[in-house]
């Protein structure tokens, strides 16, 4: 470098008072000369403001792969974040589900009439998950979220769908591993009852807390199955037979209509 800026030149340049040619010269120089760059007077207030704005963007948490995928699919930014964050609430449930389904599979393979256990548990698994994803006792931020515009129905249904996806996936995987599963169709016999139970608890949650509603519906299901098994007259699997599926479908449609009506009028 054959020359350096004088403080006066730096000052003039920084305050936009240099003439064109001097400015060009200064610019060519400071592109490479760090000491001369430091001669330019700092505007501390502006620097702090500028950095604060920048930090806001830079410190924003990175989007996870799930969130990224959801927003790619057209889900809104806030909704995607919510859906991706929900599993944090029910990690224990997810683990329990895997254990229960594994136990059911074990029973189905090694005990006579062991697949009954799967028939008992599969519809209840999503129900428990839904009960654990929303409510005062479960969500540590419930008191906060309950005063946001997102709370209530919308949050409940979003959480429910965030639970149903892993629950149904796990149950389907387990059902495909059952000894009796010969066709894909025979592996999804539990699906309609499961959805109906979830819809039932959602409808009931209008009058009861969600946890209580799920307990009621789940108990009803287990009692019905238990009673049928105990009476011995009819096969409990009748509840899941093709003829019964039509009834389940009918009930599910009715319940979904009830939910839709409730959302509409809410």
């Amino acid at each position: 470098m054959s020359w350096h800026l004088t403080p006066a030149q730096a000052h003039e340049y920084a305050h936009h008072r240099s003439d064109d040619v001097t400015a060009m010269s200064v610019e060519a120089h400071i592109t490479r000369c760090a000491p001369c760059r430091d001669l330019l007077p700092d505007d501390e207030a502006w620097l702090a403001r500028s950095w604060a704005d920048l930090r806001d963007v830079v410190d924003r948490p990175r989007r996870g792969p799930v969130e990224f995928l959801l927003s790619r699919l057209g889900v809104g930014e806030g909704t995607a974040k919510l859906l991706a964050a929900t599993p944090g609430l029910y990690r224990a449930w997810l683990l329990a589900t895997v254990v229960v389904l594994a136990a059911a599979l074990l029973a189905a393979h090694h005990l006579p009439r062991g697949s009954l256990m799967f028939a008992f548990t599969a519809p209840v698994v999503p129900l428990v998950g839904v009960a654990l994803a929303y409510g005062r006792g479960v969500d540590p931020a419930h008191a906060l979220t309950s005063v946001t515009p997102l709370s209530g129905q919308r949050l409940l249904f979003l959480r429910t769908s965030a639970v149903l996806v892993p629950a149904l996936t796990l149950c389907t995987a387990a059902a495909l591993l059952l000894p009796s599963a010969r066709t894909p169709w025979s592996a999804v016999f539990w699906l309609l009852p499961a959805l109906t139970l979830v819809a039932g608890s959602l409808v009931l949650s209008r009058w009861l807390p969600l946890g209580a509603a799920s307990t009621v519906v789940g108990t009803l299901w287990l009692t019905a199955l238990g009673a049928l098994t105990a009476s011995g007259g009819t096969e409990p699997l009748q509840l899941l037979a093709p003829q019964a599926q039509a009834w389940w479908a009918g009930a599910l449609i009715a319940l979904v209509c009830a939910i839709a009506w409730r959302v509409r009028t809410a």
Partner: protein, 194 residues
């Protein structure tokens, strides 16, 4: 892919006195504080320099903001030349491009969203070497004698290292006009210097 790269890279030790290259390596490893040091070191002169090209302070600050965000995303693409760890030229390349994209009044997506690697422009070319002595050489007098239009054309294409197209955007004149003005300016300068 980029996420993986960032996670795998270990941040080097750095401090307020580290060189730009070290700081950029730390930024590439996800260190916010390194970006803060770089911001403190370079924001002032970049802003002063951008101000000679754009008088609207809001657009200017927005361009500067985008510049450092681009640095945050693309810090890994900086490759220091041997013996020179200064990132000034590289940063200016980004800043002037971001300013152009601001001036285009579009949503500024065309540059900030791409993972384009910024290559340092005007690497110590013959023109640079001459320009470093503008003030004290005969070129200074010659430039003084140029009309403002011709001078701004020279400034955009030579000093800022922009393409004809980018120069047309920042000067808001057609590309053909930029070309003729640069040609005329060079002819004038040659005349004055010989």
């Amino acid at each position: 892919m980029k996420l993986l790269r960032r996670a795998r890279r270990r941040a080097p030790d750095y401090g307020p006195d580290s060189t730009d290259a070290v700081l950029l390596a730390a930024v590439a490893a996800g260190q916010t504080h390194a970006l803060e040091i770089l911001h403190r070191r370079h924001a002032t002169w970049l802003r002063a320099r951008l101000r000679y090209r754009c008088s609207d302070p809001d657009q200017l600050d927005a361009a500067l903001q985008e510049t450092f965000l681009a640095v945050w995303r693309n810090a890994g693409s900086f490759t220091p030349r041997p013996g020179d760890t200064d990132a000034g030229a590289w940063l200016w390349t980004i800043a002037i491009r971001q300013l152009i994209s601001q001036l285009r009044k579009r949503a500024n997506h065309w540059i900030s969203d791409s993972d384009a690697d910024y290559e340092t422009i005007g690497d110590a070319s013959a023109e640079d070497t001459v320009l470093l002595n503008i003030e004290h050489g005969p070129l200074g007098a010659a430039l003084h004698s140029l009309s403002p239009e011709l001078r701004s054309a020279i400034q955009a294409t030579v000093l800022d290292g922009l393409t004809v197209r980018e120069a047309a955007q920042i000067l808001q004149i057609p590309e053909g006009t930029v070309k003729t003005r640069v040609m005329r300016a060079k002819a004038r300068l040659r005349e004055a210097l010989t």
